[in-house]
Symmetry: C2
Subunit: 476 residues, 2 copies
């Protein structure tokens, strides 16, 4: 028995274990470790019990017992969240409810273009199932090989395809939720239009498990694009990137499926530290963007669009240089260059991270102002700026000064966050664009959100989870 | 003084009147009539006081006094709703709060592609302001000349452009809401991505004024299409219409901006009763669709798409006949043919209306099954079937039998509704796709909604409006 186990009464552990069977009630430290640490090592927690139910009925019985005994429950699916929303606290008395065994794809409806998937389905598995049915499930993000649909919905995940297809919320038509009392809210609808009362679905999506446990969802599928082109562009300024985005949107409309900004620093870090990457452009530029066109019409159409956009961009000197991937493998290499950026930043020492959004027109202003305030707080700190520019969403991760001290730099974490987030707020932006609140940003949200916003959120929380057993300490 | 005035204490009327000024506190019967009747004559109510505030601050003071005195408030904007959501009850004690003087377009942001508009802005005014700024505000519905943005959002309005652009909810990025207590929830954000807590915005959108008063909103703007084509198609069956929809979506993707189904009966009614309409097709068919293509690329592109789709439809015998509008005025004439259908049904006598949605693949099944059950309830009744097929949304309005008696037919209103709605439920559809619940469908919703759905809605209502003063008797 671990010391943490002392926080839960053994009789209660036994009652929970009886619901799922001993095999799926984990109490040994070696079994529990994967659920209270995560791959990035940013978040740790303690628990004496991890439950792995195999059915909605078992989830329901767990929640009924949790309500009866006032036992805090931490829902968890792929355990890849970046803000600690999936982690129990350090007290050991919170039970982790893993949804990973609820991993059935219940139905793919080709006529309605929907898939009904359980919370534990791995995102990549769902993408592949859609592809096998000649459809696209567009949600795409770095952790897709291990993150799961329940967490994607609970955190309203974003990623690289939001520009054309929307975030997890936009992709979800209906949900099945087990409420704190164990009652099941069955709202697995497939309808494009339904005006019968309040929008309850969107309360659960993005609530990070604080209102109920999403056990399944109806998600939208799309036609597979018939043509895809990926280009890498070098630009003289962030203003040019903004203008290029406007021009590309105007010409390609919804066929513009990605517009990812990459600063010079992450570009250099990737060339220096990532294994096997190829320099995309021969010439150097202050800014780069990865542009993706996906045509629903034909391969030729996609090619025509990207050539038209890049031709105009070079001609008007918005772009300094550009390359179009000549093959699928080259396209993958360009995407890989974008995707390894966060990893490639690590050898440069400690970093202070942000996940911000601003109205897209304010992106250049944000970059300029945030750079100034960061320099003011930690002279020599190096802003590594990249992200989903088309959504107004940047991952603005500051590396410590060259030859600086990691610990000394990280001691300024809050000061740097505050300075950057003040800029975000002055531009009417969001301090959590796509990663959520979790534990990481809870205190700051409470301190800085518009007052009525927190008050209304507290009322929703009290209305749905009056006993306060759903993922305590997260979001609000 | 009218008899209804007895329901409100004169001292209280005076306190409310002082907030907006006597000129904008209507108490005379002739002034009040337009607010307690509506153009279609379907809904009536009584009140002794209509308040017309001129600022958010005045709305706030009205709500504070309403909470203090437990006075029921009925928010109203354009007064065009079809389900009675905007009407006070017959008791005379509910105050109508008209938002029509809050009619400023506060800002058009061309870089962020957003417009910030107050609740009383008329939809058509907003469309025109967007067009003048070289943008499209796509929400479009029959009442657009008089309906207002506050009501559009509160009822989550749909209309003819939902297929490509979404409904009012999808077009809304942020809201400003005066809560029952008078406090202002200022959430006028322009962000595509924001994961800082619960989705409160979508609770107010579609709540039909039962949770708070929407006073302003940030709405999305889109590029103006560069080419538009409208076609009218005759088809052998509703199954062919479904197949044509699938084929057109596949070829045009998001450029397919309307796909409106029209049955033979409304087609004939329109030819018989609507002034100045032209027969769209020389040959007769059991079903028709109006197809609209809007290209973001060019006029030639739109023309190419519609010709491609119709050519393939004729070749594969999905379509029996088709005409493409050769001019803007012909395109308008085809749209007009679609838009006058509801009016053209009136000379055929009493009708029993439905606003249903089903998964789009179930549309032919719905049409077949609903036709059978209606014939069972009222033999000879004539289903007039038309609507937004691309959204799975039909207005299925039954005309009384030829030479039948209006009153006898209308006496079966509930029986026909029940029979049709049973079919809708068996196909996992919605009994209110776009018009809302209001008074009309409240009892049925309470009786037939999934139990946890009503329970959760009641909790939201109690959390946001504990005194129960917001639009009582509507939705829940």
């Amino acid at each position: 028995m671990t010391d943490a186990a002392l926080a839960l009464d053994p009789g209660l552990v036994q009652r929970f274990a009886e619901i799922v069977g001993d095999r799926y009630a984990l109490t040994a430290r070696r079994d529990i470790v994967p659920y209270v640490t995560e791959p990035r090592g940013l978040w740790h927690g303690r628990t004496s019990l991890v439950l792995r139910p195999g059915s909605v009925e078992e989830v329901s019985r767990i929640m009924r017992l949790a309500t009866e005994t006032r036992t805090p429950i931490v829902p968890q699916s792929g355990n890849t969240g970046l803000v600690g929303g999936q982690m129990p606290d350090e007290g050991g008395g919170q039970v982790v409810l893993s949804l990973s065994r609820l991993n059935r794809i219940r139905e793919i409806d080709l006529l309605s273009n929907t898939v009904t998937a359980e919370a534990g389905v791995i995102l990549q598995t769902l993408q592949e199932a859609a592809a096998n049915a000649d459809r696209l499930f567009p949600l795409s993000l770095a952790a897709q090989g291990s993150c799961q649909i329940g967490g994607n919905l609970s955190s309203n995940a974003g990623g690289t395809n939001v520009l054309a297809y929307g975030n997890a919320r936009d992709l979800c038509l209906g949900v099945e939720v087990v409420l704190p009392t164990g009652e099941v809210f069955d709202d697995l609808r497939k309808l494009k239009k339904d005006n019968t009362g309040y929008d309850l679905k969107n309360l659960f999506v993005g609530a990070e498990g604080t209102l109920g446990v999403i056990t399944a969802a109806v998600l939208k599928l799309f036609p597979k694009p018939k043509g895809r082109e990926v280009a890498f562009v070098g630009l003289p300024s962030s203003e040019a990137a903004l203008a290029l985005f406007g021009m590309a949107s105007d010409r390609a409309n919804n066929a513009l499926t990605a517009f990812e900004l990459i600063g010079r620093l992450p570009y250099e870090f990737t060339l220096a530290h990532a294994a096997g990457v190829v320099r995309p452009l021969a010439s150097d530029w202050p800014w780069y963007v990865l542009v993706e066109i996906s045509s629903g019409r034909s391969a030729e159409d996609a090619r025509g669009l990207i050539e038209d956009i890049l031709g105009a961009a070079i001609e008007t000197e918005l772009a300094g240089d550009a390359v179009i991937a000549a093959s699928l493998s080259q396209a993958e290499a360009l995407w890989n260059f974008r995707e390894v950026l966060p990893e490639a930043q690590k050898p440069e020492g400690a970093s202070i991270k942000h996940d911000i959004s601003v109205p897209i027109a304010s992106i250049p202003k944000f970059i300029e102002q945030a750079g100034m305030v960061v320099e003011g707080v930690v002279p020599g700190a190096r802003p590594v700026c990249f992200g989903h520019m088309g959504d107004g969403n940047l991952h603005y991760n500051i590396s410590r000064p060259v030859n600086g001290d990691d610990a000394a730099f990280l001691a300024r974490y809050r000061a740097v966050n505050d300075a950057v987030h003040d800029v975000v707020r002055s531009l009417h932006g969001s301090i959590s664009a796509e990663h959520g609140v979790g534990q990481l940003k809870r205190d700051e949200l409470i301190a800085t959100a518009p007052p009525m916003s927190m008050e209304l959120m507290r009322r929703v929380k009290a209305a749905f989870d009056p006993a306060g057993i759903m993922n305590p300490g997260k979001v609000i």
